[in-house]
Symmetry: C2
Subunit: 257 residues, 2 copies
């Protein structure tokens, strides 16, 4: 409910000027969500409405809300309103023996599907030429998918393969690896590189999130037993939906940390 206004008035009264107003308002709303006074899906007062009630300008109210949108606490829909973000159960994914997207979702007990964003043969970028070890004049197959669980987009996968290994990208069914297996080209080993990035405008739109939300960017290079590179894949996972889990054992570095 919108006792946000009353809460703010009370808080302002009890500590006069403890920092920027937009941060005070932000933490009041944030607290209300964490306490459960505002529940996922609940509507907040409109920006103009709240501004009037807490006696701040709309710009300041908006700034507090934008902060929370960026952190994934709230969602805003133009023409509709501002709502407490529905919270996703987090998905755990192992980093030692990688499990498939479909399996992860099965474990989570949710319907899962993919939407094709792109499928076709292209002239390779310099980066792809290097990563895939392509010969001169070779072409590259690109397949890009949006991974969706229920109604929620969870990840974007953009794979690049040598066209000699995947001459017809349209022929893939639901599983790239199953398709590669038919021609005996299923990878047996992969190197993954993870980093945290702020979502770009483009990826944010695909995932239905605000630009700037933290996400996990993963680059994977997969190899055949022969050592030949099969695929070079760049994926973006929602930061608020994924936990990646790794097990470490005693090793060199273990001693000094």
């Amino acid at each position: 409910m919108a006792d946000v206004a009353e809460l703010f008035a009370a808080r302002v009264a009890e500590r006069p000027s403890s920092g920027p107003l937009y941060l005070q308002l932000k933490s009041i709303i944030d607290d209300a969500v964490r306490r459960g006074a505002l529940r996922p899906g609940d509507a907040l007062p409109s920006e103009r409405d709240l501004a009037a009630r807490v006696e701040l300008s709309r710009v300041t109210v908006r700034r507090a809300m934008q902060n929370l949108v960026r952190e994934g606490v709230l969602v805003q829909r133009r023409g509709s309103g501002t709502y407490v973000a529905p919270q996703l159960p987090r998905v755990e994914q192992s980093l030692g023996k990688l499990t498939s997207f479909a399996e992860d979702m099965a474990r989570r007990g949710t319907a899962v599907r993919s939407v094709w964003l792109d499928r076709g043969l292209y002239d390779p970028s310099p980066e792809e030429t290097v990563a895939l070890g392509l010969p001169a004049a070779a072409r590259v197959a690109r397949v890009a998918r949006l991974r969706i669980s229920g109604e929620t987009p969870l990840a974007i996968e953009r794979a690049a393969l040598s066209a000699s290994l995947l001459p017809d990208p349209e022929a893939i069914g639901t599983s790239l690896y199953a398709h590669l297996g038919q021609s005996g080209n299923r990878p047996v080993r992969a190197i993954q590189r993870l980093r945290a990035v702020n979502l770009s405008e483009e990826d944010a739109q695909l995932l239905g999130l605000a630009p700037g939300v933290a996400s996990l960017h993963i680059e994977r290079t997969s190899y055949l037993a022969s050592g030949r590179v099969v695929e070079f894949t760049r994926s973006t996972y929602r930061g608020d939906a994924y936990d990646f889990v790794a097990e470490l054992r005693t090793g060199e570095g273990w001693v000094t940390q």
Copy 2:
């Protein structure tokens, strides 16, 4: 240089109204940095100055710049000005056999040090009681460090241990594990859980970054050979400074992806 203004004027002329003005300006500045026209450390025109020259309001110019600050492209210093962010060489860290912070930095060839943020005995939080498997009325040792390479803070580490394993946190030298080893309590196994998060105000301040910048949050639980939990550590790594690398081998999930 500040041909940012001329560039903007030109671009506005060539494509009249291709989206929000602050995004147009943002991508112009972003491009200039990527092209190398603006180099790390270079000063940009002041917000008021640029606003006058591109004929936008200061608020709009500021919004473009703030976007880039959040993405780590620019840095702003109050009272001083706006600058292209110095770019860090990325550090690679393995997720299979974890290497120590000191070793990582040695490989990178940089001076490295730690600053203590906190060291002492406390009453455990409920979360710590569960994670460490503490008996009732037990106390907990907390040690928090800021990891710094050269002049750049790279990570925050906050460890919690049973006070029975670390009765005197002040006695730690530079290495927690070396200290634990003296009493035969060095861990032999650990589980790490990684996720991407936007930096909180507090952590952002410690790392000298803007709140909201993407970072990697890692929770590690370490075990003795006996299976007893030794430490529960929460770390925050700069997203723009770390790549985590994992090697995957054929396994169950491998088939379907």
